[in-house]
């Protein structure tokens, strides 16, 4: 090959790199591993994590240990979906493009909003991206955000807002839900958008309609972050006057993956279509009049519009979105309702069961659907460590990111957590609280004891 190129050595091909900039030796990295060694090395690292296969996991806070149907993996692992680039050549990308179109349809159905994009990175950055749309749509730069919105979303919004030159104002909660009064006081004619979340970070179902009305009153948009998996039972944002709905897609058939990759979704009313961020697939026809799908409205995008683009996103989360639409097809119209009902009932059961435990009381009594918050009368980190010794991850310590809830514990349910599991949690929590003395030596590393499985 060197002959064909007309050089003597591979080094000649790098001759244009000034010698002062050339790396003198090798990179200071370990030598390569064979496949079997590499597998063992990574399996070794993985073995030092307490995962939801070994632990009974009641942690939620935005991502949930739902069952990922085997066919989701089977389909997303097909080379034809796994390895192509973004569909720049639609004639050989009809698979991916149609999936995007189906995804958009499914998200639009769930949220009852007419237009959806084909995915963004994940939840919190989708919230921030909605702010960019709102600023563009209203030419205002004030962002009002409920403290019911996930702290990661609020922090991300603040980070982005510095770039947008926007101000972020927070509104507190009352009885677990966004304070309507405080919201009314906080919005004004400079307000671009009001950001709310439902179920909110404490698990409470918000009254989106009421909140959206306040925003509309001052000409601001309402951006709702929603958990799509609850929309089989909860009133969808599109029926509540919400302008833009966004959310984290992980609950829809995504792996936990220690936080990513998952996908964000982004949908809204018709009038925002041309300001939407990200890829959007559209239906069209080919030269012979055959139905086909293309990337629509590319003039919004960075590769065409550059500095005037509606967003900078390029690589997004197509494969995860595929997983999402396969999951929704698997769950189906009946399943999405049944699952929502199952979650609501198990959550109600667990909430009552835990409230009966000595040292536990509800943090709020607003309606909940899949997650709820309690106060624990003992240092929460210590209680969690003790319960972990029994192979249970009891929930998410609210104090970790919200100092106002130092004694708060957020407990999430999925269809994988049975009544028996809930009873085990309640019992373990009771034991842990009564044993807690603030002196638990809590840094024993590694995996908690493997959950005992019972072959029923």
């Amino acid at each position: 090959m060197l002959d064909a190129i007309g050089v003597r050595s591979v080094d000649d091909l790098f001759a244009e790199i000034p010698s002062a900039l050339r790396l003198s030796g090798e990179l200071d990295l370990p030598a390569g591993l064979s496949e079997t060694e590499c597998f063992d090395h990574l399996a070794g690292l993985a073995g030092r994590n307490a995962d939801a296969e070994g632990e009974l996991c009641f942690i939620g806070a935005g991502m949930y240990d739902h069952y990922v149907p085997a066919l989701v993996d089977a389909i997303t692992q097909r080379s034809e979906f796994l390895t192509p680039y973004t569909p720049y050549q639609p004639e050989v990308s009809q698979g991916g493009l149609q999936v995007m179109f189906e995804f958009q349809t499914a998200i639009s159905e769930l949220t009852a909003l007419p237009v959806s994009n084909a995915s963004l990175y994940e939840g919190p950055s989708s919230v921030a991206s909605a702010a960019y749309l709102a600023i563009g749509a209203t030419s205002r730069r004030r962002l009002v955000v409920s403290r019911g919105v996930h702290p990661h979303s609020r922090e991300t919004l603040r980070t982005y807002a510095r770039g947008f030159g926007a101000e972020v104002v927070e509104v507190g909660l009352e009885g677990g839900v966004t304070s309507g009064d405080e919201l009314e006081r906080s919005v004004d004619a400079e307000t671009a958008a009001v950001f709310v979340q439902s179920p909110n970070f404490l698990g409470a179902v918000e009254d989106l309609e009421r909140l959206a009305a306040v925003a509309k009153g001052v000409g601001a948009l309402t951006v709702a972050s929603v958990d799509a998996l609850t929309l089989g039972v909860l009133r969808p944002p599109g029926e509540c006057g919400v302008d833009v709905a966004v959310g984290e897609g992980q609950p829809l058939g995504g792996r936990l993956d220690f936080g990513g990759p998952s996908f964000g979704f982004f949908c809204g009313t018709e009038e925002h279509l041309r300001r939407m961020p990200g890829r959007i697939a559209g239906e069209g026809v080919d030269a012979d009049g055959r139905r086909g799908f293309v990337l629509a409205l590319q003039t919004r995008e960075q590769h065409i519009r550059r500095e005037k683009a509606t967003h900078n996103i390029c690589t997004s989360q197509a494969l995860n979105a595929l997983g999402g639409v396969v999951y929704l097809a698997w769950l189906g119209k009946q399943g999405v309702v049944e699952l929502g009902e199952l979650l609501a009932r198990r959550t109600a059961y667990a909430r009552e069961r835990l409230a009966e435990v000595d040292g536990v009381e509800l943090l709020h009594d607003a309606p909940v659907v899949r997650e709820f918050a309690v106060r624990v009368d003992a240092p929460v980190p210590e209680v969690l460590d003790r319960v972990a010794e029994e192979g249970i991850a009891a929930g998410y310590w609210l104090g970790r990111e919200c100092p106002e809830y130092e004694d708060g514990l957020l407990v999430a349910l999925t269809e994988r957590r049975s009544r028996r599991d809930i009873d085990r949690l309640a019992d373990a929590l009771g034991r842990a609280i009564s044993a807690a003395d603030g002196a638990f030596p809590s840094d024993s590393e590694g995996k908690s004891p493997r959950r005992e499985r019972v072959a029923s």
Partner: protein, 514 residues
């Protein structure tokens, strides 16, 4: 595959393939009331009426119209759809700037281990030591490869990394009491660069390219001043050209107080040969889905970690991964650190696309230092070999190299001559390549090259594959000489024929009416 030209694909005269005859049907159109795939555990708690738990006002009235289909139908539907995609595991995919290298299957296996795939991101770090150590190790490896000591894995893709880098620049300058308003990008820059500049609240100023394909130094000098926050570059740039005067360029911007941002999309050219940090860059993003073998997934997921210099470090996003030596002889302990007062804050939820980190870490561990260097060498060798093949014959005449020199891992041809002399556009050549079983190169980018074709074969393509690609292009140009209509109406054998993207955007149908 051999040197011989591929046999001629059919032309407009031919009839549709079976796939073409089958009308595209969506999963919603396959729905039949009452069918289902998924099963749920039975209710094992009291069956309370839902509106006793949640006020009726907050409940949905009629269920969303999700598809009603059985598992076998879902499998068939998506398997058939998958075969309407061209993919990297089918044939050469020389899409420039995208680094379509092979995705080792081991990486998928280790990513799927329950210790990774079912690890909750809010798990207590002391019970996720393996995950934190993996992240820490990946950070160290990227720091070494980039020549910049501090790494945050958090950004979700390249463009997210760019935004992070610009917000870091802003924080850095503000911390020094400066307010700068402009960011320089060369006219060869990828579209995400200027788009990120705007999102970060800066104004874009374009820098020209000189006759050798590098930064036009005079133009740069005329634009660098105290209002300039940053120069964003990639080197080799999107023309596949290494800018030898990079040290001079970085010096110029640094002297004016600006930061240097390196778009790492082209890192695959230089691993183990030279490092952005050594060239003088302050901030680099790395596309794990390019150089580090994360599959592209038809448009993601990826990850865009950033590596930065000491002066930028205080501003890195939180949480950061920290390693603490163990007390009394115990092993090291890993943790997330949130309390970083100067940090720009979070860019997303949790700590990044961990599943991508697993794959890329496995890739780096598999290749090791020598393997990475060899990957870059072979990538550059393959690009130059393909280029040499395309300098000959009809390609050399109708699709000449835009900037005539050796290339790095990719190169850009211009289809201006083909358009003028043969009456076929770059688009036509690309569409005809589909009939020959190849994915076309990136086309019409970079913008400054007329009718651009940008080829990046990567190190995992074989010589036979490159020969076959060159032969196909030669054959296609011969067809164009004979009858340009053959190209203008291509493709013929794909599941659908040429699609009208503009029309589909005029009256967009972006969801299925149900």
């Amino acid at each position: 595959m051999s040197e011989a030209p591929a046999p001629a694909p059919p032309t407009a005269a031919d009839t549709p393939t079976p796939q073409q005859r089958e009308r595209a049907t969506t999963i919603f159109e396959r729905s039949v009331a009452g069918r289902r795939a998924g099963t749920l555990p039975p209710l094992d708690v009291p069956e309370r009426p839902l509106d006793e738990l949640i006020p009726r006002r907050l409940l949905r009235e009629s269920p969303p119209e999700l598809p009603e289909v059985s598992e076998p139908e879902i499998v068939r539907h998506y398997n058939r759809l998958s075969r309407r995609n061209f993919d990297l595991d089918t044939g050469p995919y020389p899409l420039g700037s995208c680094t379509m290298k092979h995705n080792p299957r081991l990486n998928e296996r280790v990513a799927a281990l329950p210790g990774h795939a079912r690890l909750h991101p809010a798990q207590d770090p002391k019970r996720a030591q393996g995950a934190l150590e993996l992240m820490w190790r990946l950070e160290r490896a990227l720091a070494e490869i980039c020549g910049l000591e501090h790494v945050s894995l958090q950004p979700s893709a390249g463009s997210h990394g760019e935004l992070a880098g610009l917000l870091l620049t802003r924080a850095y300058h503000e911390d020094r009491g400066e307010r700068r308003t402009r960011v320089l990008t060369p006219d060869t820059a990828h579209g995400t660069n200027p788009a990120s500049v705007t999102m970060a609240g800066y104004e874009v100023v374009k820098v020209a390219t000189d006759e050798r394909g590098g930064v036009d130094l005079d133009d740069l000098r005329s634009k660098v001043d105290v209002d300039v926050a940053c120069l964003m570059l990639t080197n080799p740039n999107t023309l596949g050209v290494f800018d030898e005067r990079i040290a001079e360029i970085t010096q110029l911007v640094h002297d004016a107080g600006g930061t240097l941002y390196y778009d790492g999309a082209n890192l695959n050219a230089i691993m183990g040969r030279t490092r952005p940090g050594d060239m003088g860059f302050d901030i680099v993003h790395v596309n794990l889905h390019k150089s580090f073998s994360q599959p592209h997934g038809g448009g993601g997921p990826g990850a865009g970690p950033i590596a930065v210099s000491d002066r930028i470090e205080p501003f890195l996003p939180v949480p950061r991964v920290v390693r603490r030596e163990g007390a009394d002889g115990a092993g090291p302990r890993f943790d997330f650190e949130h309390a970083r007062p100067k940090s720009i804050g979070r860019l997303r939820g949790f700590a990044g696309n961990f599943g991508v980190f697993v794959r890329s870490y496995a890739y780096i561990a598999s290749l090791g230092s020598d393997g990475l260097a060899e990957a870059s060498e072979t990538a550059v060798l393959n690009a130059n070999y393909l280029l040499a093949r395309l300098r000959r014959g009809r390609a050399g005449r109708f699709l000449p190299l835009a900037f005539d020199r050796l290339c790095m891992h990719e190169f850009v041809l211009s289809g201006a001559a083909a358009k003028r002399e043969l009456g076929v556009r770059t688009l036509d050549v690309a569409k005809r390549l589909l009939d020959y079983g190849f994915h076309p190169p990136t086309i019409y980018f970079p913008l400054l090259v007329e009718e651009a074709l940008m080829f990046e074969p990567t190190e995992t393509e074989t010589r036979e594959g490159l020969d076959a690609l060159a032969a196909a292009i030669e054959e296609i140009l011969a067809e164009a000489e004979r009858d340009p209509e053959i190209l203008r109406n291509a493709p013929y054998t794909t599941p659908v024929r040429r699609l009208d993207e503009a029309a589909a955007s005029r009256r967009p149908v972006v969801r299925q009416p149900l």
